[in-house]
Symmetry: D2
């Protein structure tokens, strides 16, 4: 035991190869489709994933048993960042949201049978999946007590009814992991359960794509209806009524992998800006040597470095088996705001070109804006963070005898 | 003479009527075309302008002689803000950029003949115009010495050659006001001249629309080529070699009218957010009563109020015939950043809906982003601001004997 | 009626003479006592006030009937700012807190008899006064319902009992205006009344000076005990139980005059910084021409300009007889934070000298820090601001039928 | 090799014991002297250091050979932070600036003889030392080329002449490490050399204490004159003309240990604020449950966590023998600003008490303000950071062939 910031050599090597792959194979496709991966559709996904597989870079987060590279959380950090250097990189490596988070959770809580049927084809890129959790207001969002989709016992299993939106990747997915209330009433936390629902279940309908600022997700952010959607007992993922606990299993790591990928975009934006202005001159001076430009460049370097350090620390805690609620919340909040600042500064550095389609920066701005809202809005995290910090302090001083 | 923040009754009345017109006539069209005015094209423009004319709201900034309402700068402030409450409002009132700024300048420096031929049809909405100034790097942008488009004397007038971009509204316009170097070499300020160039001049080609984050401008931001573009002597606007001075005539007021219009969008964003969250609850509390939401709402109110005050002050200076270089620069810099913060907070307040097409906030974010770059990037203004502030202080203390 | 940002010629003249007086007479004293006015004590106060009287600058805010210059709120703005350019300037002109606010209130609500006895000697500088309102937690501060000092009817008038702190200027004052509960229980707003209490009342004890970051106030911020403090009926200021309403009469204008005076210090800090670095060089460049320095200078200019505009607008509303609750709250919040930023930037611009006693900037930082807390903490104002903004919007749209 | 955020058990134990020592022994002294260590003077230093020695906590950064605990940089991080939880903690452990940095450097570059004479008594607390580097403008500060103190060869060694200020700890120190130019002219970098100068050298005079906002340093920040100060050849520390390189040896780690200690104060400020407001109520709600308070608490937690991670990473690089110029610069810049924000928020959370002497927060604000200027102003670091980032990027892309 001792502080160590070095990655094992095989991870260092993997990062380098990932970076090269993204540069040489992925970015040309990104530029071709102007940053909107769905413009290339499933054909593009297949082409990129085949190339990643050939390069030995596929599914870095999946265990070797299911065809992946078996990386833990701290090792994923630089690899996912390298993949995230292009909006299309994570898709190529099959480590994009929401599939990556779903694989992570399935490996931990699915039965062997469920793994063969749902995890294996997902890990191989044969199918995509989605996680049906968020509901239109006043349904489930930041507040679990608001969950209104229900699953009730019926003769041949469970009947799910509910209305979801922002179900990322739903269009074209092979199956859903649906989050439904199995006990308690709306307004109480009660019990929730996750169900595996095949996309061809007649009770499951993808209604429409929600039109959003971010557009890089294949399969979109969809509105989905579960209407008299009956599934067998074997569709239950994990144990009955334990859904909120499992969601935490998924959420903490998923927040970190989001951070890793978006940090790649932040690094990319900074590089685009430096490349762009390196040779330009203004009022007789090199633009990169003007103080206000240097301040923006320096601030972005600091934001990126602090993001990396925070991500690594939270990942290490997760790798130790800790819940890491405080550190993942702090990291997600900081990183979501930091990458926003980095991309915004990159645009400002590039001037008119920064808001033009000549560079991908405007596209990135729209992609990263939502990250301050998705996966827990910054305000929700701050609220939870502050409560935990106060409780922790008061317990340490003895001012608070016990805490829930 | 005494401080007075009250508008004359007729202006108050005009503001109210403009607000009602925007609410009842313009916003329904905006929602129909999701904030992209060009989707409705010239037909929409004609329809909205006819309605505004009928409502007695047309061309508020134009003198009565040319069919307008004859408002000075301070009176324009609340009227343009009310128009700007919709992205389509300024177009409806024929006071959107760049036409509004072009009318302002033509009234001041055109000959009577030029006014009849160019100002009258522009003021009436018969034609649109564009201002061809910005050039791709390393050409004219923040630095006037970089101007590379040239106009040289030929037998029958002047021959203009050059490459412009971000020529707003060029596609479909009736004529250009082209900014060209008539003396001095690139790298020196030299002398520039403005030329009125009819759109059907064979030497003028609108090459393409620059793909930009903002998309609300009819006629787009275009790349334009002047290639062996010959114009007669009568095409000269104002005096030879006085272009930079005239540009200042246009720029100061044009910056303020931009601020007014965008401030309308900021107010709109704040209202959309308040309306959206007024009845929503989170964790058992009303969202609008949560402290972090209140902080965002309060900060946006302050940003809007400070923007309004700064705009009024700068406009008053302009109405007094002052150049107002310092106050318009401070105001433009502050307001561009303030409205960006307001729109960003509105999105955050609305959560997932804020980044969805359900509300127009994402659209607004993209529209206002560019304003921190267009019409002088914030950094360029800060550079000029600081230099003037230092010079002014050193002159006051006698530390600086003379100043250029 | 029309927007006008010009001051009457006599105010312009007064501002110039005040600035000259501060520069020539007051600043030398400030530098001598390193910014701590109380180091010069009453002797310094007498000397400075005599000089101001001779210069015709004394008590600009007091009516001519009571020996002042009779300026309204908008005229006070530039005069108080000019006075505030030194920490000692407002004292010299007899327009420093809390006396200035007390005079303002006495002119409005005192009886003629009270005015002769309390206002006239205060306006002439013969005595000082204090306003005993704030109480140690959990007493009165931001929340009026917490008021715990009581005044109860006794045979010969009223008996006041209570504990106050942050009673500015109490040490050496001639009398107090004491805020006490005359109806309702702690925890309810109830009714409060203001009493004029002579300093030699045996029931009034100035216990100690609260040690605070800011130290420029003559008479300190004191802890004061009212213990069996009996006063006659004639001590009641205004009407019984109307104290909270009167406090508003005092608070709105008092917030603005605080802003004016502190804005003077912000301007001073900026000037000190510019003077300091004007000729210094770093890495071969003039410091004032380095981009990051220019950014700080420009941002401070903008902060000062926006503060001025906001102050003027709120003052104009007050002069119109409006309560101006929203605009004074917005202005106080913005200005308190803006001047903090300006002073902080000035220190940073000056480097090590900025944190040394060589310049007065460190002293100013400590003086202005408290302003974000005194007279309503920024958070309290934001809370109130947001509530009013929401209510106003919902009333405008008809979503809120009635409002308290 | 693998990412590891765990400290060895002996370090964890040391941190706990340090925290307990600070809480039980040091903080009572700090409260007694209101945060100004020099009020207790050398007697207090002796008392605290004896207690730390008894507790086995003394000189954690010094090698065992010289009586310390032999901690590397990463292990110092949590220990110094725990010590820094009181302004007096580092002094108690003999790990305060500038002695700690001087010991660090002496261990690396002094000869054995010099170590016995200068390092051993310093490590044991027998004497204090100072580092005479910074000069009044236009002398040495951020820009090494400005170094104006000279050392010239004389018969019996070297004669040093120059003017230093901000020589921390000079008053009462046993010796100086003086930084002097030994080749090249002012305005060029040239060569510098470090000299060990005994305090009783007649050519060395401590002129005065510079009056500064921060007052916690024993021995003050002094102005020092070297006037015909002759030292023997054996006074040279390291090699002739290598002073700038050695300064880097000292500066990188010294910046990090500053960050560690000040981070302790940030943590302390946050704890003071939480303790203070935990039970208070405002408008009927618990203050710690108000959203704006929660936001401040959460932001401070994030600032502290990000600071810790950045410090650890930079320390790890230093422990690996890297120069770590970029990471120490990023860390110093971020941490100096983060702790400033944390202390400022703590004051705001505590309201009027926050600016009063009842709490130590105002004292802390003044202590930490200077850290954004000392040891490289934030702007200087950002300038260097940006240049390195640009160079690194251009080298990576091949746009820059070679770099100095």
């Amino acid at each position: 035991m001792a502080i160590d910031f070095s990655q094992p050599p095989e991870v260092v090597d993997l990062v380098e190869r990932t970076a090269a792959f993204v540069r040489d194979v992925v970015i040309p496709e990104e530029e071709r489709y102007a940053g909107v991966v769905s413009a290339g559709g499933e054909a593009l996904r297949a082409r990129l994933q085949a190339a990643a597989r050939d390069a030995g870079l596929f599914a870095p987060h999946v265990s070797r048993e299911y065809g992946g590279l078996g990386l833990g959380m701290t090792a994923r950090a630089p690899v996912f960042e390298a993949a995230g250097y292009s909006l299309f990189g994570p898709l190529a490596l099959n480590c994009s949201a929401p599939d990556e988070g779903n694989m992570h959770m399935l490996e931990i809580i699915a039965t062997d049978e469920q793994k063969e049927r749902y995890l294996r084809p997902l890990a191989s890129g044969e199918v995509r999946s989605f996680f049906a959790m968020t509901e239109p207001a006043p349904g489930a969002g930041s507040d679990p007590a608001a969950l209104s989709t229900t699953a009730v016992r019926v003769d041949d299993g469970w009947r799910i009814d509910g209305h979801k939106w922002f179900s990322t990747g739903a269009d074209g997915a092979g199956y859903a992991i649906c989050f439904a209330r199995t006990s308690g009433k709306v307004g109480t936390v009660g019990g929730a359960t996750m169900f595996l629902v095949d996309a061809d279940n007649p009770g499951l309908k993808v209604v429409r794509h929600v039109d959003t600022l971010d557009q890089a997700m294949i399969g979109g952010h969809c509105e989905v209806i579960f209407d008299n959607c009956v599934v067998p007992d074997s569709a239950i993922l994990g144990e009955l009524d334990q859904g909120f606990a499992y969601a935490q299993v998924r959420l903490g790591p998923a927040r970190m992998t989001h951070c890793m990928r978006w940090l790649g975009i932040a690094r990319r934006a900074q590089d685009i800006a430096i490349d762009r202005i390196a040779e330009r001159r203004l009022f007789g001076s090199k633009l990169v040597e003007l103080g206000m430009a240097q301040q923006m460049i320096a601030d972005s370097e600091i934001d990126i470095a602090a993001s990396r350090s925070l991500i690594l620390q939270a990942c290490w805690e997760l790798d130790q088996g800790q819940r890491a609620a405080q550190s993942t919340a702090m990291t997600k909040t900081f990183v979501a705001e930091a990458i926003w600042r980095v991309v915004d500064r990159a645009i400002q550095l590039c001037g008119a070109a920064g808001v033009s389609g000549e560079l991908l920066l405007g596209r990135y701005l729209n992609e990263v804006r939502a990250f301050r809202i998705y996966d827990g809005a910054s305000e929700t995290h701050r609220w939870a963070l502050a409560r935990r910090a106060v409780k922790q302090r008061l317990k340490a001083t003895g001012a608070l005898e016990s805490a829930s």
